[in-house]
Amino acid sequence: MAEATVETPKLDRRDFVSDQAVRWCPGCGDYAVLAQVQKIFPELGVNKEKFVFISGIGCSSRFPYYMNTYGFHTIHGRAAAIASGVKLANPELSVWVITGDGDALSIGGNHTIHLLRRNLNINVMLFNNRIYGLTKGQYSPTSELGKITKSTPLGSLDRPFNPTALALGAHASFVARAIDRETAQLQSMIQRAHSHNGSSFIEIYQNCNIFNDGAFAPMTVKETKADKVLWLENNKPLVFGAELNKGIRLDGNVPKVVEIGDKWSTDDLLVHDETDWIIAMLLSNFTYQDEFPNPIGVFYSVDEPIYEVMLDEQIKFAKKNKGKGDMQTLLDGTDNWVVE
């Protein structure tokens, strides 16, 4: 979302740090995300007063208190709806929704999909730790089937939501995934989301070291990381592995993991295309499937008509068509009479 950058004062990280003590548990993945946001925001070229952070309820939703920008810590699940009102009232603002897997996909699932389908120019950062942290450890809508928690002592019975697939299903115009520990990549996703015109959806794998420690460990520990992460690069073949010796090949419509070597070369691999919804959906479906690596990066990015821009055009059209509204004319109506 590129805003006009008139008289931008030179900003640095400290400009975005509020005077409030950060209260997440020591070691929480949220710290890493906050740090990257504070680091990258001065470089976005937007005046600080134009930023608004809107959150719902949950650990991650405390985020706005720690950013020295405009912020609104609202009610459970409703951040996307409140952010929509903020953006529609003042499209000049750079609006960021901070939410979690429960907030955005359970209690607020409806608002999330509708925000994305409308394509308001709002950025959604979904901190996915696959657990309920603030309420102390119940399973979440992204917890894997059979998750044993306080509320599911014999294992959870509901299949998990896949956030990127849900966003793609709602036809979000920008869908990406990041990991809290991969700071450079996370910064780059924040920057991409910011520069995208339309709704941006970033799922951030975030470790809850108290209630779901190690949920994403295969993707972050040295021994397994290379085999478990598929870094997405636009127009590049889908290659992964410590030796970059594995790739994703399409066998008909079915994706397969193949070894690069005698039988297959990189030329046989599927080439990522950020504008191809089918590829994005296919990659998204790797989630929760052990035989596949987890795609990290931009799944999908296309330009679609933007809601608030179209609303503004309607207002201009109506003014041109009917003339600027005149209150007395409206009150008089077309059918009035005078009593002497």
Binding site: F72, I75, I82, G85, A89, L93, G333, D335, V338, V339
Partner: protein
């Protein structure tokens, strides 16, 4: 009163007769006035060929067929043209859209289609493709299209049976006898009748109308206005006077949807309407818009308001301007969507968690919805608080002649956005000495970056605070802020003497009945006065001293005694209620009877 009008071949006399028979069966008194065309074979679709049947019915004695029908069934453009002038303001028009062809429009002398221009804006129009719908209802039958077409009068009759809650059986039995030898006609007519009845149910045609007693009007310019349009115009007028955009977030619900429709047609004023994914998103988006400096508004009816409760609490603690319109209908739950009621007073006053005071204003007539909506915005902006405006289905859909205000005479509203000119550290929860309102600093203003939210706020700084003393203090501040609104409420008007044997105390849409009853009692030399409340929270500060000057207090309400309980609790007055929830307005006669009982 209903008037059926159509081409002489449309079966209007028959339709009228059937409705009459059924109405007689349910025990209403009635009077009818058939109006056949002189030229029984006048050309189809022409003005001369219009046949009509008028029926006036009531549970009271009726001596005339009445002057103005409430409902006009116009089966073609000619019928509309001939009978529209008689229809009461804001009445229901039911038309067969299929008959509004260019040829028929021309025959009736219409230059443009009245169903498509704004000529019928002040009526409640149901333009229905009856010909197509009856054809669909009978599509698997082996009968001619012409025969099917002729069942459309039964479709129209079905709609009226729904509106007036009449049984279908008498007509079904009659059809059985009449077409004994042609079973296919029994079947097709019954299908059309049922289809019409189900149509009325599905589109939730509102069934209680606002009745205006004929009274001489003061000099001035008038128009007819219904409550929902007046509400929309009042909201817009306030936004224009405050010079800030109006943002409306809402979700369709009977009987409030017309507010969304009207506001959506005000795009040329810059109004932003947002049909949200649900009731919660409707109010949430409005809160977001208010945070960003618009006047945020949402409207709904009881079930939708219930969904919005948590967000209203957020607006209370965030201390942002917001207007919530509740067009009340029968409850609980889905209840009676098309019937009026006043049973959401407690919901407006108390329907939230925690100590969450919200000002509540109630409109008293359709035209008064304009002023109530305007005042709700004034208070919301001045005190930085959500405000409830209570309307009801009866006011919303009812029309009355309305003295058109001069827009320039309405007061300006001052949003007074905080701009930090003096450069001192910004305190988002500092307060105005007089109103206790906090500063409204909108995103985009340099140097005023701050965070608000639903967690308890520390006094002055607005930082999150769990301090027990601070919570108690903030709770008192929020209550005092709402209480301070009494300073803006003018002295209470008393219709009648300032003391006496009985005070009738009313609020909202029962104003008309209570006023009529009071005047009747006064004319019979009873010492009776009327006070009609506009603000239900806070109550006017002079109310207590008025109440004690009367020997009896009677509170008529379309609920089981909600205002009565408040008055009894707040003023320790032995107020008596007159309560019913039968989905129709209170009758002045019932109020008079109850009053006479009280004063002996």
């Amino acid at each position: 009163m209903i008037r059926f009008a159509g081409d002489s071949g449309d079966g209007m006399q028959l339709t009228g007769t059937r409705f009459t028979e059924t109405t007689a069966i349910v025990g209403n008194d009635l009077s009818t006035l058939p109006d056949y065309p002189a030229e029984i074979r006048a050309p189809a679709g022409s003005l001369a060929g219009v046949s009509a049947f008028q029926l006036h019915f009531s549970s009271k004695d009726i001596h005339t067929p009445g002057d103005q029908p409430d409902v006009l069934v116009a089966m073609n453009p000619a019928a509309l043209k001939v009978h529209l002038a008689d229809l009461m303001p804001g009445g229901i028009i039911i038309t067969n859209e299929s008959a509004f062809s260019p040829k028929n429009l021309k025959l009736a002398g219409y230059e443009s289609n009245p169903l498509e221009d704004d000529k019928l804006d002040s009526y409640e129009l149901y333009s229905i493709e009856m010909s197509r719908l009856v054809a669909t209802a009978c599509e698997d039958m082996d009968i001619s299209p012409k025969t099917v077409e002729r069942t459309k009068n039964m479709f129209a009759l079905g709609i009226l049976y729904w509106i007036y809650n009449r049984p279908l059986e008498p007509t079904i039995n009659w059809l059985g006898v009449k077409f004994k030898k042609r079973p296919e006609l029994i079947d097709s007519n019954i299908r059309a009748l049922n289809a019409g009845y189900n149509y009325g149910d599905t589109v939730e045609i509102f069934t209680t109308r606002f009745a205006v007693e004929k009274a001489p009007l003061a000099a001035g310019k008038y128009r007819n206005i219904n409550g929902n349009f007046a509400t929309s115009a009042g909201l817009l007028a306030a936004s224009e006077k405050a010079n800030i955009p109006l943002f409306y977030g809402g979700y369709p619900i009977t009987p409030a949807s017309d507010i969304l429709h009207s506001l959506a047609s005000f795009r040329h004023f810059g109004v932003k309407t947002f049909q949200a994914e649900d009731e919660i998103a409707g109010i949430s988006s409005a809160i977001g818009a208010s945070f960003a400096g618009n006047i945020g508004v949402t409207a709904s009816s009881g079930p939708g308001i219930a969904l919005k409760s948590e967000a209203i609490g957020l607006a209370v603690i965030a201390e942002l301007p917001l207007v919530i319109v509740n067009v009340q209908r029968g409850g609980p739950s889905t209840g009676l969507p098309t019937k009026t009621e006043q049973a959401d007073l407690f919901q407006a006053l108390y329907g939230r968690n925690g100590e969450a005071p919200v000002p509540v204003i109630a409109a008293q007539t359709p035209g008064d919805c304009f002023y109530a909506a305007f005042e709700a915005c004034q208070v919301a902006i001045k005190y930085r608080t959500p405000v409830f405006m209570l309307s009801d289905g009866y006011l919303a859909n009812g029309s009355e002649p309305w003295s058109i205000p001069n827009f320039d005479d309405l007061p300006n509203i001052h949003p007074d956005f905080y701009d930090n000119k003096n450069g001192t550290p910004f305190m988002p929860y500092a307060r105005d000495d007089k109103t206790l309102a906090r500063p409204w600093a909108t995103p985009g203003t340099r140097g005023l970056e701050h965070r608000i939210g639903g967690l308890e706020k520390e006094d002055m700084t607005g930082n999150v605070s769990y301090d027990p003393e601070n919570h108690h203090h903030m709770t008192e501040l929020r209550a005092q802020k709402v209480a301070n609104i009494t300073e803006d409420i003018p002295p209470t008007e008393i219709l009648g003497s300032t003391s006496g044997d009985l005070l009738i105390l009313s609020w909202g849409g029962t104003y008309g009945s209570c006023r009529s009853a009071t005047e009747r009692l006064q004319n019979e030399n009873n010492r009776v006065s009327l006070v009609h409340l506009r603000w239900l929270n806070p109550l006017p500060k002079d109310l207590g001293e008025i109440l004690i000057r009367f020997k009896n207090v009677l509170i008529p309400e379309l609920n089981m005694g909600q205002l009565s309980k408040i008055i009894r609790a707040d003023y320790l007055v032995d107020a008596q209620g007159l309560n019913h929830v039968r989905g129709r307005p209170l009758r002045a006669a019932d109020i008079v009877t109850k009053a006479q009982k009280l004063i002996g």
